[in-house]
Symmetry: C2
Subunit: 189 residues, 2 copies
DNA sequence: GATTTTATTGAACATACTGTTGATTATTTT
DNA sequence: AAAATAATCAACAGTATGTTCAATAAAATC
């Protein structure tokens, strides 16, 4: 919408804050991270931190929001270039973005994970799945929401494992697996 | 194993700490809860708190551990009385226990949720599911862990929704739904 | 390139919570 | 009733918090 150039100094400040924050998150849970040590590590004044964020939790929230927005943007860009937007393709696009930001997603979904962020990702993934469930009319209206949550949470579980394993598998592989589980269900004899 | 009678005063102290803690968790996230306000609310001395717990997070962890142990105990009790332990029955037993402690499970899995606790519950639920997946030989060895996590995380999603909705549905209903999703897969045309 | 605007710094500040101590009091167990 | 144990009280140093304001540095604008 509006480019609104941001002051170089602000860009730098936010960058070092984020980098240091990620470093710290690898070492300890959010609750043990103080603003002071974060600023010491980033080598910025404490007052500067407060000029941009309320506290650690606000910082985390903003970073999470940018990730979610990043996925949305990634999907929008893709949809502009391609008329057809099959669920599977969209799913793989999401996985691509997650892969590009694997370090952060791993931190926020796994070890030092935040349950709210997980909820945001579930909602977003759900938007891609929802259509296929919605069109199946042998599922009672009451069950739809439940099944939707089952699929979305299950997908998060797989993505979390995928990240924890260090992205050994390709986005396509995971995408197919998720799509298979969500549409034809479990393989069974 | 060992009954080890606990001093009445300790029992009381722990009780008021837990009750106050739950009250506070309803109001605000763990990170905003101070030991001081917790002790004020529980009307105990701060030194007394430190005699039992390291900090808020330790307190939370202990409460979570007791819940998990509670489920295990609940299952063991049932297994002693009943020779057959079909997966569905075990699942319903788990749901029963969750229902009995709905307030706390709701807090820890939903609103002020803890991702570690969620992981513990997933692991426990997985133990009940695992057998049925393990016996299906048309699933590649590599995929088993992924599918297991898909099912367990999906189940958590449904349980979370069930709790958030105020337990409108019966444990049987939810149990059947979960079992259906885990065994025959999604309903499809 | 000079000027204006804006961001960061540094220092100081009151405030609040932390975690620990040791002596005292109260309660429970034996 | 005596011994053991738990909770209280008050005090303590240590530390992070969040805010302030003047000074400085750097960027954007003209």
């Amino acid at each position: 919408m509006k480019p609104e150039k941001i002051d170089r100094r602000v860009r730098y400040t936010k960058m070092v804050i984020r980098d240091s924050f990620i470093q710290l998150l690898k070492e300890k849970p959010l609750s043990k991270i103080t603003i002071k040590e974060l600023c010491d590590m980033a080598d910025i004044n404490r007052a500067t931190f407060y000029a941009h964020y309320l506290d650690q939790y606000d910082l985390l929230r903003q970073m999470e929001k940018e990730l979610i927005d990043g996925i949305r943007q990634h999907l929008d860009d893709y949809n502009l270039q391609n008329a057809t937007s099959a669920p599977l393709e969209m799913l793989i696009k999401i996985l691509e973005f997650i892969k590009e930001n694997a370090q952060l997603f791993d931190l926020l979904l796994n070890f030092n994970g935040d349950i709210e962020f997980q909820g945001d990702v579930i909602e977003l993934i759900g938007q891609q799945y929802f259509y296929s469930i919605h069109t199946q009319n042998d599922v009672s209206e009451n069950d739809k929401e439940y099944i939707f949550l089952f699929l979305a949470n299950g997908s998060i579980g797989i993505i979390r494992k995928w990240l924890a394993d260090g992205l050994v598998r390709s986005t396509k592989e995971i995408g197919y697996l998720l799509m298979r589980l969500a549409t034809t269900g479990l393989p069974h004899a």
